[in-house]
């Protein structure tokens, strides 16, 4: 379970860093115990500054879709990126994550 490690590493520091978590999953079977709504809610409730989670959804099983729909409702700091076709989703999801979160220009901060 990586969440406990993440909290221990980044929690309560108040540091000015941008912590992004990107999860690639079809939402099926074992993953629901790992990145289910309960676990993600616990993670987001912990005091990791500026944590944002993006789930890149792939696969089209009904249970997986249900799981991902639940996750999307967990909170403001989770995005679920999903498209119509599984394999294309992943590449497009990565591209969207990259565009929205990483390919930003220099940022000014107050000195």
């Amino acid at each position: 379970m990586p969440f406990k490690d993440m909290v221990a590493k980044y929690g309560s520091s108040g540091d000015s860093l941008a912590l992004e978590m990107l999860v690639v999953t079809d939402g099926d079977e074992g993953s629901s115990q790992t990145y289910g709504t309960k676990q993600l809610k616990t993670l987001l409730d912990c005091s990791i500054p500026n944590l944002h989670v993006t789930i890149v959804a792939c696969g089209s099983s009904a249970s997986g879709q249900k799981q991902l729909a639940d996750i999307a409702s967990v909170g403001e700091h989770i995005d679920v990126v999903t498209y119509d076709n599984a394999a294309d989703n992943i590449a497009a999801g990565f591209a969207e994550f990259t565009k929205a979160r990483v390919s930003n220009p220099l940022r000014a901060r107050e000195s």
Binding site: A18, L22, H52, V56, T98, R101, P105, A108
Partner: protein, 789 residues
């Protein structure tokens, strides 16, 4: 219940009766005893033989959670007492079982928290009439004055645990990064025992928009300037949560002090483009020398074409003179290549600071033209960005968004606080209460007469006493005071108004060494600025040893609050303890009380004197029109009142201005989110455009990839392709502090590994590994160092 708590001065707690600790607070009986530890009377925890501490831990946790749940529903005093007791028991238990506990041999432990702390915790919870609720728009404010040295940090941590156990999210705000880091660090074992967390941050870090949202604001602002349509926003730039949120403000009077109430933190968005870089290069190389010429030049027209909604002429009115200023000026800059920024050396205190002014960009170009430069012209050009306002947050907006606001401070009685609070809390007046002290059994602080001096160094020219010129110098008198202190093997803490003043004194004593000779005087220690969080361990160590014999510590006023100069040296105590020298006049009496509170902690002896520079008092006089005579308490107080009245209208105007800025920012964000009211957004972005070299906020990216059987084939291929795109983008950012961690999961999760630099990721080996791990394997090679291993 509260009187029962106060009524009990003694108790014995054993591991066997620990779980009946409510009796410690509520019932008389054979458990109670008071033990002398050093010179202080303490409640102690007597430890009986008990080897099975894990079952005890479980019982403490279970009872705490049950009590928290019951109290949330019942608000009954009995449930509160049980909850407080259990939280205190846990604290004692952690101390008792900590490795290397010096008291272990005696089988006796100090029982935390002490009675005043329990009283403060209980009184806050009792005052809270209703549970914080996410739908409440009018939160309750409760403030407590807890004397200096009484252990506010313990009270705050206990409160965090109790609210967290009741399902609330808790943030702790402090004015200083160093103190926030210290409290986060010290609270960790106690919080971890209960499996709960709290965010310890500075006031500005809790107010600021998270970098992720800042990034979105930046991208969308660029689209507005480029005249392009706005796509749907990924997420709101808010901190919305489903949990009730509790804010605990440490040193709460600072938030409502003169320096803070008008404070606005304004983030900026940075927009880069080739056209802008070229235009500014033209200006630097004087291919164009006036604003009009620059606007009409080929590159000026190119900028206007790329950014039709940017008011270029208005921007250049600041930029063209800035180039001139740097060409002729004497600013001292350094390049921080690691973070892609230019640092300017402050004229005030000599520290390197990051700025985002047009001058800084031209400084980068100037630096690049030097043969010894550590940056190239291309790097300097890459730093250019047009800067537009993003989010403005007023310091007093911090309490917004919380459902209960509690504050503690040693000095709620501050005159400034009273005046400020009366104008700030119109709907919900904070409930204030002074906490009794567990210490101060006798008056131990000796306040010596203040001394007013003339200037004695070039930087501090001022009036000398013409009859006694040699002995009336400001720095000379501070030095003499230090010498008198160390001669008696006592310790001195000298508190300066600014870092610049402290630095000047450091230089002075290099030329005029402190006597007696150095073997009797331990090295003079300097506390770095509170913003220097990388020096946290140095600061912590310096504070720890400050109250020891013949030690001299120089600090700025920021360390006059919250820093715990603990005196554990019995010989120092017998010689009179720590002597505090305040070298400036505080317009707010709360600051003076706080600085005095750095000594005489927990009933230790100590003394205090003000040594002031006459010119400082003349400045106060100029503002107040009241002669300041520091020898008379009445005069000091009337001067303070006059000072406040003189500043009141200016402060009120600052508050109104700050609120206006925040309102405009909120409206802009709303428009940006909805993609509406384009004219208003353009006006906002062009209100104060600037140019400068920005810094990157480092990214830490954790990638967790599903490698269960269903990912086989096209899915994992696509994931690898996507990963390559992401890593390339991170590499393009070229921010040395960006880091990435990649792990896999199926029914089990691979353990989180150490983060590594983006440049160290071995993409080919990683993708091959990812593909082969589908079906339940783990990724073993991510970085080049893994291959080497």
């Amino acid at each position: 219940m509260v009187s029962a708590v106060l009524g009990r001065r003694e108790c014995i707690v054993t591991f066997d009766n620990m779980l009946n600790c409510d009796t410690v607070f509520l019932a008389p009986g054979p458990f109670c005893r008071c033990v002398r530890v050093g010179i202080v009377e303490k409640i102690v925890l007597l430890v009986q033989d008990r080897t099975d501490t894990s079952s005890l831990e479980t019982e403490i946790l279970d009872r705490s959670r049950e009590a928290a749940s019951r109290y949330w529903n019942s608000k009954s005093d009995d449930d509160l007492a049980e909850l407080v007791a259990m939280v205190c028991v846990a604290r004692s238990f952690i101390d008792a079982t900590a490795p290397g506990s010096g008291l272990l041999q005696d089988r006796t432990y100090l029982f935390e928290c002490h009675l005043m702390q329990v009283y403060a915790i209980v009184s806050l919870f009792v005052s809270q009439k209703a549970n914080p609720n996410t739908s409440t728009t009018n939160p309750e404010y409760h403030f407590r004055s807890i004397g200096t040295g009484e252990g506010k940090s313990i009270v705050i941590c206990a409160i965090c645990i109790m609210w967290s156990l009741m399902g609330c999210s808790v943030d702790v705000a402090c004015f200083s990064k160093i103190l926030a880091a210290r409290d986060a660090n010290n609270s960790r074992p106690w919080l971890q025992f209960f499996g709960v967390t709290a965010t310890f941050g500075t006031i500005d870090s809790l107010i600021k928009v998270a970098p992720q949202f800042q990034s979105q604001i930046e991208q969308r602002s660029a689209l507005v300037l480029r005249g392009q349509p706005l796509p749907a926003m990924i997420a709101n730039a808010t901190n919305a949560t489903t949990q009730p949120r509790v804010l605990v403000i440490d040193e709460v009077d600072v938030l409502y002090s003169e320096g803070m109430v008008g404070q606005v933190w304004c983030d900026a968005s940075q927009h880069k483009s080739e056209e802008i870089s070229q235009l500014f290069l033209d200006i630097w190389e004087q291919k164009v020398s006036t604003v009009q010429e620059a606007v009409q030049s080929a590159n000026g027209r190119a900028v206007q074409q790329a950014f039709p909604n940017l008011k270029l002429e208005q921007l250049l009115e600041r930029v063209v003179p800035a180039a001139e200023e740097v060409r002729d000026g004497t600013f001292i800059y350094e390049v921080d290549n690691d973070r892609g920024r230019i640092l300017r050396r402050s004229n005030e205190d000599g520290r390197l600071q990051q700025h985002v002014e047009p001058q800084d960009f031209f400084a980068a170009l100037k630096e690049a033209s030097s043969p010894l430069s550590s940056i190239t012209k291309e790097q300097a050009l890459d730093m250019i960005a047009v800067s537009t306002p993003a989010v403005a947050k007023h310091a007093l907006s911090l309490p917004r968004g919380y459902h209960a606001i509690w504050g503690v401070s040693g000095t709620l009685a501050s005159q400034f606080y009273e005046c400020m609070a009366s104008t700030l809390f119109t709907n919900s007046v904070p409930q204030k209460m002074e906490m009794p002290t567990s210490f101060a059994q006798k008056q131990t602080l000796t306040i010596q007469d203040p001394i007013v001096c003339g200037g004695d160094v070039p930087e501090l020219e001022g009036p000398f006493d013409s009859n006694n010129r040699e002995n009336s110098g400001y720095f000379l008198n501070i030095k003499k005071e230090i010498e008198a202190v160390v001669e008696r093997s006592r310790a001195a803490l000298v508190v300066f108004e600014t870092q610049a003043r402290l630095n000047a004194f450091r230089e002075y004593i290099q030329g005029h060494p402190i006597e007696p000779p150095s073997q009797d005087v331990r090295a003079v220690k300097y506390l770095p600025p509170t913003s220097a969080t990388d020096k946290y361990s140095v600061i912590d160590q310096t504070i720890r040893v400050a109250a020891s014999r013949a030690r001299v510590t120089l600090a700025t006023r920021a360390f006059g609050r919250g820093s715990d100069f603990v005196c554990t040296d019995a010989l120092l105590k017998s010689e009179g303890g720590l002597h505090v020298i305040q070298t400036f006049w505080s317009p707010d009496n709360s600051e003076e009380v706080q600085i005095k509170g750095r000594t005489c902690r927990q009933d230790n002896p100590g003394s205090y004197r003000q040594i002031l520079w006459a010119n400082d008092l003349k400045d106060i006089q100029a503002i107040t029109n009241v002669p300041v005579n520091v020898a008379s308490v009445t005069d000091v107080e009337s001067a303070r009142a006059a000072y406040f009245n003189a500043r009141k209208s200016a402060t009120e105007a600052q508050i109104a201005d700050a609120a206006e800025q925040e309102e405009a920012s909120a409206e802009f964000l709303q428009n940006l989110h909805n993609g509406t009211n384009m004219d208003s957004m353009i006006e906002y972005l062009n209100a104060a455009p600037s140019v400068g070299a920005g810094a990157m906020v480092p990214y830490k990216v954790v990638i967790s990839c599903d490698v269960s059987g269903s990912m086989c084939g096209a899915n994992i291929d696509a994931a690898c392709k996507g990963l390559e795109v992401l890593l390339e983008a991170l590499q393009e950012r070229d921010c040395e502090h960006d880091e990435v961690e990649i792990h896999t999961f199926s029914s089990n999760v691979q353990q989180l590994r150490a983060m590594g630099a983006v440049s160290d990721v071995d993409k080919a080996a990683l993708t091959a590994n990812l593909k082969s791990s589908v079906g339940g394997g783990t990724v073993r090679i991510v970085y080049r160092r893994d291959c080497a291993a």
